[in-house]
Every structure is written in C-alpha cells, then in structure tokens.
C-alpha cells in the first residue's frame, strides 16, 4: 500500500469526521450569517444615510471593504472552527482512537489541515462573494458601487476569502499547540483583538512599525482595493500571514509528534 493511498484514506476519514459534527456545521452557518447579514445591515445603513456624508467622505468611500465589513466579526467563527477540529479530539479523548487508527501523526495533521482548508476555502470564497454582491446590490442607485470586472476589486474579494481560510489554519495550529478549546480560543481572540489594543500603548513611531504586522491589519491590507498608508500591500500582507501560519503549524505538528497522546 503506497503512502499516497494512505494519505487519501486519512483525508477521507477526516472529511467524514469534519462534516459529521454539529460544531463545524454550526460554525459555518454562524460565519455565513455574520458575514452576509452584517454586511447587508452595514451597507443598508450607509445607503440610507448617504446624503449626510461630506464630499470628502463620498470621494474616499470604499464600497468593497464596507460590503465585507461583516468579516470583522465572522473571523472569530472561522478561527473557532479550525481550533475545534483538533481541540475537540482532546477534550473528548477521541484523539487516542484517531491516533490508533492513524499512527503517523504528520499524516494525520496534514489530512486534518487539508480537509479544513479545502472546505473552508470554498465556503469562505462563496460567502465573501455573496456578501460583496449583496452589498453592491444594496448600494446600487444611491451609493457608488464596485465591479468584479476591476482586477483590484476581484483580488480584494478573493483575498478576503483567503484571509479567512488562513485564519482557520492558524486556529488549527493553536489548537495543536494548546490542545484545549478554551485556551486556544482565548489566544486566538487575543491575537486578533487584544494585540491591536496593546499596540496603541506603544510610542507612535513603534505603533506604525508594529501594527502592520498584526494579523487583523494584514487582513485589512489583503482586502484593501488601494494600498493603505503605513501598511503592507495586499500580496506582502498575504506572505506575512502565510509565514505566521506556517510557523504555528510547524510548532503544533512538532509538539504532536513529541508528546504523549
């Protein structure tokens, strides 16, 4: 039996596991509702108050990021999905059953990651496109809209989905390291929410250097249609986030290899 065959069967097994628990399904639903629903709510509010905006506001208005604003909330849902894929195995003890069936721990981690990222990539892209199109439909006629015909706009929407997919991978990596749902979720939320608050206490010149490295800032840079001040460009931001994810996953997999289950 070749290794490829084994990897495929492990992936198949992890896919059955991923879609057969409510936490993944609920996580996806919460994520979709938050992204699309909040996006619709925010774009609707902007449309109904559009005439109160100043000329400058109107000129600098970004119809893309506003239609995707629900992501700010929804990003926590995708992180939790990634965390639970592994931490629920530890909390229930099923990790021992899993490892008895698949003793090759690298293969197990890889299979879980592939299933998680592939399915979440599809979900995140679909949800981001729906949120974008819903927002533009709500703006239509009153507020300036963006079109997917523009290369930058298309890139923004696609990278929004990529950002969220990478967050699930980051959550999965944290779950591998910490093995506990509560601890992993706390760290994940801290990285996205508390880190930016802490940076505010730093001197201004440091802030500018630091804040662009924050995961949430990287996300905003990836979704920006035009490059933001004091921030990375979209592709550089993607690269930096990828490095984070790889480092966390490498640490998590090394620990999985070394520790007793």
């Amino acid at each position: 039996m070749s290794n490829n065959e084994n990897l495929l069967s492990t992936i198949k097994s992890e896919w059955i596991k991923f879609r057969s628990v409510r936490s993944s399904i609920m996580g996806v639903i919460v994520f979709a509702v938050l992204t699309i629903g909040l996006g619709a709510l925010i774009t609707f509010a902007i449309r109904s108050h559009w005439n109160q905006n100043t000329r400058i506001d109107k000129l600098t208005f970004d119809p893309v990021s506003t239609s995707l604003a629900g992501i700010l909330f929804a990003q926590f849902a995708v992180g939790v999905i990634g965390i639970l894929v592994i931490s629920s195995e530890y909390s229930s003890g099923s990790i021992r059953t899993t490892l008895a069936a698949v003793p090759n721990r690298i293969r197990l981690a890889a299979s879980k990651l592939i299933v998680l990222m592939a399915s979440m990539f599809v979900v995140c892209e679909i949800v981001c496109f729906i949120a974008f199109l819903t927002g533009q439909a709500i703006f239509n006629g009153v507020v300036p809209t963006a079109s997917l015909g523009s290369g930058q706009v298309l890139r923004s929407v696609i990278l929004a989905g990529v950002y969220l997919t990478l967050l699930t991978a980051l959550g999965f990596g944290l779950g591998l390291i910490l093995r506990q749902s509560a601890a992993s979720i706390s760290v994940f939320v801290s990285l996205l929410l508390i880190l930016p608050i802490l940076v505010i206490f730093l001197p201004q010149s440091w802030q500018n250097n630091f804040s662009k490295f924050e995961p949430s800032e990287l996300g905003r840079s990836m979704m920006a249609v035009t490059p933001r001040a004091e921030a990375f460009g979209a592709w550089t931001a993607l690269l930096v986030l990828l490095i984070y994810v790889v480092v966390v996953l490498a640490a998590g997999t090394t620990l999985l290899q070394r520790r007793d289950a």
Binding site: M1, S9, K17, S20, S88, S92, T97, A100, A101
Partner: protein
C-alpha cells in the same frame, strides 16, 4: 503475537511502568491483572504508540505499532469507551475509522450488528450509557478483523448479561487463533474469563501463569473437624502448623498439608471427622502478591470489630 520488551515509562518523576517484559500468545485469553495505578493502561497506550516509551519497546508481530501500514487490520483496541466525540453518531464514528484504514463500508454495519447496537447506530454517542459505549468500542476494535485485540477494563459498565456476552466473545476470539489481551483490576473477573494471567503491581512484573498455576503456588489451608479440638490445636502448634481460625465447626490450619495433619492426629489418638484442603482463591493469591505494591492502599480505621 504481542511482545513487551523491557518496557519502562516515566511521566516526569513518576515511574508508571518499570522494565516490564513478557509475551502475549495467540489462541488464549491473557489477563493483565494489577491494582489501579499499576501501569496497565500505560502499557496498553505504549503498545498502541500513543505514549512514547522511556526505555524498551512493545511490538506486534515484530513491528512497532507506528510502522503498521493499516493498524486497525492488525490490532483492535478498546482503551476508553467514552473516548469518542459525543456529537458524532455511532455509525459516522465507525465509518471514519473504517475509511482511515481502507476497510469496506459494509463492515461498519456488520460490527454494529455484532455488538448489538444497530438500533442506535444513528444516535449521537454523547447520549450513550457506559455499557452502550463499551459495545461501540468493541465494534470499533473488530472493524479491521484484527489478529491482536486489546481491551482495557472491558467489563466496566456492562450489565450481567453484557459481562457474560463479553466473556464468551473473548473465548471465541481466542479460539479463532487471535491474541486476546484483557486488563482488569478484578481478579474474580480474570479467574473466569482468562486462561493465562500476567500480574503486575506498581509498574513491575510480579508473576505469570495459568489460573491453576497461580492458585497452586499460594499456600493453601486445611479445614479440620476433630474429636478433640484443643488437643489437636496444641499438637499442630508443636509442628510447623499454625491455627488460623477456630470456631464451633472446626479448625483452619495453615502451614501443613492434610497428610501431615492426619498423621499428627493419628499419633495423638484424635479422631478426624473431616479433613478438607482449602485452595486459596485467585483473589487471595492476588492480594498476597500485590500487597506490597498497591499504590493507593487503605489502612484499617480504629473501629472495634465485633466477632
């Protein structure tokens, strides 16, 4: 065949398993007996590659567990029946296991049927009783039709009917030529369900043998009813014997065989009314063997006994 090769496992400063070395042969049910905390579960976890040994190793048919290509086809194990994701149905749990080792989907229904849980196959495992979870664990262990089977405390949570079922099940697995390794802290359970017994205490090997071997090694006692109890007591004590118990029925004598007692009585002119060698129960043997190695022993409280 299962081989434990000078296995030692430390958890930080705690020595859980200390130089265990034994083989578990196919065709018989081998009991793995020891008090709680004696290292049975640790040994099982090392066999399955879940915990890394500090020294030594455990092999299945000469191979490390981690090197098995499709482990579920060679080893079936039930360690902790509750170690299943509570939100998944029994069938999906087994289907995922089957998929990981390229086992046919139809096998899932076969083992569900065999374990007697077909009717709850589509129910979430979280709602299962311990007995139902044990049956699901057994179904999982059988999934790959393996030649080696490990069960850690399998009778826990089973009702009497389930216990009887599982004993017969172990026997039938062994009869088919499989290696069956069952741990328990209940000697009475091992006495009826195992052919061979390996006894450990505090992580160390104590003894190994058949149930008969183990009880034979223990010093038995002899129950005697005689015409003159007092005289016999005195005579016995002048020999090697000790009178362990006197009541209105008779004497229980240790340290002498029934032949020796008979001779002593004859020479003393005492009429023997009954002379019955008493075999130590496996339970007594076990208590004897592990008396020094109980991790969490209880001491007698200072309560007056009324006898």
């Amino acid at each position: 065949m299962l081989k434990i090769d000078h296995l030692t496992k430390h958890y930080h400063d705690v020595v859980a398993v200390d130089d265990l070395d034994f083989e578990v042969k196919p065709g018989v049910v081998t009991g793995f007996l020891g008090p709680n905390g004696s290292g049975k579960s640790t040994t099982m976890r090392v066999i399955l590659g879940l915990d890394h040994p500090t020294k030594g190793r455990a092999t299945i048919n000469g191979q490390n567990y981690a090197d098995l290509k499709s482990p579920l086809r060679e080893v079936g194990a039930l360690l902790d029946a509750k170690a299943v994701h509570p939100g998944r149905t029994a069938r999906n749990h087994l289907r995922a296991l089957a998929a990981s080792n390229q086992i046919k989907k139809s096998r899932v229904d076969e083992v569900l049927e065999f374990a007697g849980i077909s009717s709850v196959a589509n129910k979430k495992v979280g709602g299962f009783s311990l007995g139902m979870s044990q049956r699901l664990g057994i179904a999982g262990a059988l999934l790959g039709d393996p030649g080696v089977l490990l069960f850690d405390e399998p009778v826990n949570g089973l009702d009497p009917e389930g216990i009887r079922w599982i004993r017969e099940f172990f026997r039938s697995l062994a009869k088919e030529g499989r290696t069956v390794f069952v741990s328990s802290h209940l000697m009475s359970e091992m006495a009826v369900s195992a052919d061979q017994i390996i006894v450990i205490g505090r992580g160390r090997f104590i003894t190994q043998g058949s149930v008969d071997d183990l009880t034979a090694t223990a010093k038995g006692t002899v129950f005697v009813r005689a015409s003159d109890t007092q005289k016999l007591t005195a005579l016995v004590q002048t020999h090697e014997g000790t009178v362990q118990e006197i009541n209105d029925k008779g004497l229980t004598i240790g340290g002498m065989t029934s032949d020796q007692i008979g001779e002593v009585a004859f020479n003393g002119g005492i009429t023997i009314l009954e002379l019955t060698p008493q075999r130590a129960s496996l339970e007594e043997v076990f208590m004897d063997l592990t008396a020094d190695s109980v991790e969490y022993g209880s001491t007698t409280l200072g309560v007056a006994h009324h006898e």
